[in-house]
Symmetry: C2
Subunit: 118 residues, 2 copies
């Protein structure tokens, strides 16, 4: 055994900088492959392959248009990533520190005058 499956999930799909670039382009809207090739400055086959990976994890959808294929973003596939990192936000965000402070304050107050007037 060696090297567990990788390209099969959103986390891996997005680990490739070029694939992130592609998604960033598609945020602007539907685009044919050739546009991406020009915008990223990559070889066409390479772009097609990256698109395949993105397609396989559901991050993009394709639509036929004559001899072109229009790729569209499907950000829903990225939700698991968002959900996962979200839980780590408290580690760096000061907002949480301040929220903690407020909560502590509240608790202290409640303990201090348990049930007093107002």
């Amino acid at each position: 055994m060696a090297r567990a499956a990788t390209t099969a999930d959103a986390f891996n799909a997005v680990a490739e900088p070029r694939r992130r670039q592609i998604l960033d382009e598609l945020v602007e809207g539907e685009r044919p492959v050739n546009d991406l090739v020009r915008e990223l400055g990559l070889a066409q086959p390479l772009v097609s392959k990256h698109l395949r990976v993105l397609r396989e994890v559901g991050a993009v959808d394709v639509r036929e248009d004559g001899r072109r294929r229009l790729y569209r973003l499907n950000g829903h596939a990225l939700k698991p990533i968002h959900d996962w990192v979200k839980d780590y936000e408290r580690t760096w965000s000061e907002r949480f520190d301040r929220m903690d402070a407020v909560l502590e304050d509240l608790q202290r107050k409640e303990e201090g005058d348990g049930g007093d007037g107002e």
Copy 2:
């Protein structure tokens, strides 16, 4: 040329399910390697290697404690991931759809009676 650098950034570090597991354990607090070995059920050298990757991207810090090494989470390294994926949230979140509706509504109103009463 082949296979661009990978394990060098947070996105790749986190693409490995086991490494995510390790981080998830460390959210609970500082832990020695052996605890992680037990909790993940992996071979010790493998855990050490994954920890090395996480260390190199700054996602964990180490502290010596006798013959043990205590690893601690440093979620700050995950911020770039959060920042990136955040922009895609609008793709799946209904909140944004409703916000768009409200904004459109406001705009329509403003255009409808440009500068009228009140």
